[in-house]
Structures are given as structure tokens and as C-alpha cells.
């Protein structure tokens, strides 16, 4: 008799456990749906960095309401970064009034060498409205993680280092959501056309 009771209680506990797992799963799925997809595929997020022009701390919230055009690179980059930044500046030139709705950001992946002083003039050489952002190693690492940017030091024979890095321009909408990205295959005309259609 008592044996049967134990089995019954055991069954009840197992049922309750299953129910709990089900509730958790459903809740998890609902949470993911509500927050715009699985967190593992999300690109972009909160960041806290230093504006090289003002020397002040800025966050993603400071750019709310604008289209963010974010490129991660470094100033000791002789080829890829100038190409990307120049393509971006050529695209901005084609936007007319819509240019005011854009916040082009150049975020360094090499905070050790790219101080605010270095970043300030560098970004402005390409276009006056491209803002160079730097920060502490931790701040930069966090921003890289949010944007799923790959960046790694590669030591050179002369004792210095180069950076291997993702060379991508991210486009975030005025609410901070990832919309699309541009690569080295995207020419300035294509960038401008896409931005015009998005911002219209």
C-alpha cells in the first residue's frame, strides 16, 4: 500500500517537473520573440566609449534617433581602413539632406595606440562628420563583443604589431537595431542607394 503511494507521489513530482520545464521553455521562446530574435544572433548593443573630438564619454543612447554607420578599424592600418572610410565618406557625399540623419562612427580596435588625440584628426581627414571613438581596453573589448567584431594582435618581425580584424560597416536604425552591413565589395554608390532607401 505504502509502496503504491510512493510511486504515485513520484509520478506527481515528475509531472510537476515536466510542467515546470514546459513553462520555462515557453517563457524563454516568448522572451526571445519579444526581444527581437535569439540573443546569440544579435549584432550591436550598448556601448560606452570616448568621443575623440570632445574627449567626453559617449554611449549608444547619445546617437538614438540617428542611423548609425559603424566601422571598426585602427589608424596603423595602411590599406583596408582608409579604403573603407573613404568609401563611406564618398557615400555620405551622395546623401544630400539625409546626411544629417547619419552618425558615422569609426571605433578603434587598437586603443593602446589610438588615443583620442590620434583618432580625432584621423577620422576627420576622411569626412568632417565621421567621429572617431576610442576608450579603455575594457570599453573597446565590450563594444567589439556587442558587434561581434573579430580583432587580434599579430606581432611583426620588427617588434611591432598589426591587427587582424573584421572590416565591415554596420548599419543600425534610429532605434539601435541592426539593419544591414557593407563590406569591401559594396561600392559607395551602392551604400548611398541603400542608405537613401532606408532613411526615406
Amino acid at each position: 500500500m505504502s509502496r503504491l503511494k510512493t510511486v504515485q507521489i513520484g509520478g506527481l513530482v515528475a509531472l510537476a517537473g515536466l510542467l515546470l520545464v514546459g513553462i520555462l521553455l515557453a517563457g524563454g521562446i516568448a522572451w526571445e520573440k519579444y526581444h527581437g530574435g535569439s540573443p546569440t544572433t544579435k549584432i550591436g548593443g550598448p556601448f560606452q566609449l570616448v568621443d575623440s573630438q570632445t574627449g567626453k564619454t559617449v554611449t549608444d543612447q547619445d546617437y538614438k534617433g540617428k542611423w548609425l554607420l559603424i566601422y571598426f578599424g585602427y589608424t596603423h592600418c595602411p590599406d583596408a581602413c582608409p579604403t573603407a572610410l573613404n568609401d563611406l565618406s564618398l557615400a555620405l557625399d551622395k546623401l544630400g539632406d539625409k546626411r544629417r540623419d547619419m552618425a558615422p562612427l569609426f571605433i578603434t580596435i587598437d586603443p593602446e595606440r589610438d588615443t583620442a588625440e590620434v583618432m580625432k584628426d584621423y577620422a576627420a581627414s576622411f569626412a568632417p562628420d565621421i567621429v572617431g571613438l576610442t576608450g579603455s581596453t575594457d570599453q573597446i573589448a565590450k563594444a567589439e563583443k556587442e558587434y561581434r567584431v573579430y580583432a587580434a594582435k599579430h606581432p611583426t618581425k620588427d617588434g611591432g604589431y598589426d591587427m587582424d580584424h573584421s572590416s565591415i560597416i554596420y548599419v543600425m536604425d534610429p532605434s539601435g537595431r541592426f539593419v544591414t552591413n557593407f563590406t569591401h565589395e559594396t561600392d559607395p554608390d551602392q551604400m548611398a542607394a541603400k542608405l537613401m532607401s532606408l532613411a526615406s
Binding site: P78, D79, N86, Y122, S125, S167
Partner: protein, 171 residues
């Protein structure tokens, strides 16, 4: 008989000289033609840069080194793009197949200029010495374009203009 011998030796001499001329033609002094050397202006306070050029070795050669008075070091680098990740690596040489124009250009090979002693200014030029395995050294003049120049043709164009010459753009 005497005349015949004379004729024969004359012919032999002619063949020998002709043969030597042919041999010489087959082995001309190795040369490399360096054209369209260009670089981008230095953005901000940056102390690095890159020089590009078109190299043609009629008999084939290898670019093995570079030097310039405007930088402490000039190295041969190659860019590769893997899954959106840009990597830059120093290489020992750039192979120059016989008669084929090899274009050093953004996204491919470039001469990396490390620790510039003076910023590169658009519209100006600087000397660059290239060292080849066969041809020895060749000096060239590098024209400086805008900070985002994309090729030698657009090197003199203002930076806000669309690139005019895409020949050096795609590797």
C-alpha cells in the same frame, strides 16, 4: 682552294658572330619596369602609409625589398580577406612572371611604410627604391593622392570625387 678556305672561314666567322648575337638577345640585362607608383596622403597624425605601383619584368623577376627616405622601414605586405576578416602579413617577395604586369594595389600587395619621417601630402611625391632579385635596384617617384585615393589615375583628384581610375582597385 685557297679562296674556298677563305670563304668557309668567313662563313664560320659570320655564323659565330650571328650566334653570339642571338645568344645575347636571349639573355638581355634583367630589368623591371616600374610605373604608376602612388600612395595615399597621411590621415591625421598617422605615421604609417602604403605605396603601390605596377611592376613588369620582361624576363621574370621577384620584388624582394624596398627603401625610402620618408620612412624608417619599407616592407612588402600582402592583404588577405577571409570571411570579412582582414589580415595583413609581411612577405619575403612578390613573384613577377615574365612579361606580366603585376599591380600592387589596395586589398593586395603593398609597400608598407613604417614610421614616416614626414607626413605624405596630396600632390607631392617621394622617392622609393625597389629591390629585385635579378634586376637589382630601381628607383621610382611615388605620387601622393588624397587620403582615400583608390588608384594612380585618381591620385590627383580631390577626395570627394568618385574614383576615376579603377584599374588599380581590384587585385
Amino acid at each position: 682552294m685557297q679562296f674556298r678556305r677563305f670563304l668557309f672561314s668567313g662563313l664560320a666567322a659570320f655564323v659565330a658572330v650571328g650566334g653570339a648575337a642571338v645568344a645575347q638577345q636571349a639573355q638581355p640585362a634583367p630589368t623591371v619596369e616600374v610605373t604608376q607608383a602612388w600612395a595615399r596622403a597621411t590621415p591625421g597624425k598617422s605615421t604609417i602609409g602604403a605605396a603601390y605601383a605596377t611592376l613588369t619584368a620582361p624576363a621574370g623577376d621577384r620584388l624582394i625589398g624596398a627603401a625610402t627616405p620618408v620612412a624608417r622601414l619599407a616592407q612588402i605586405h600582402q592583404h588577405t580577406m577571409e570571411n570579412g576578416v582582414m589580415k595583413m602579413r609581411q612577405v619575403d617577395a612578390v613573384p613577377l612572371p615574365a612579361g606580366q604586369a603585376v599591380v600592387l594595389s589596395p586589398g593586395g600587395y603593398h609597400i608598407m611604410l613604417i614610421d614616416l619621417t614626414t607626413p605624405l601630402v596630396a600632390g607631392q611625391s617621394f622617392p622609393l627604391t625597389l629591390r629585385f632579385a635579378q634586376a637589382g635596384t630601381v628607383e621610382t617617384k611615388v605620387m601622393v593622392g588624397g587620403v582615400g585615393a583608390s588608384g594612380p589615375g585618381g591620385a590627383m583628384a580631390p577626395m570627394n570625387m568618385a574614383p576615376m581610375d579603377m584599374s588599380g582597385h581590384k587585385g
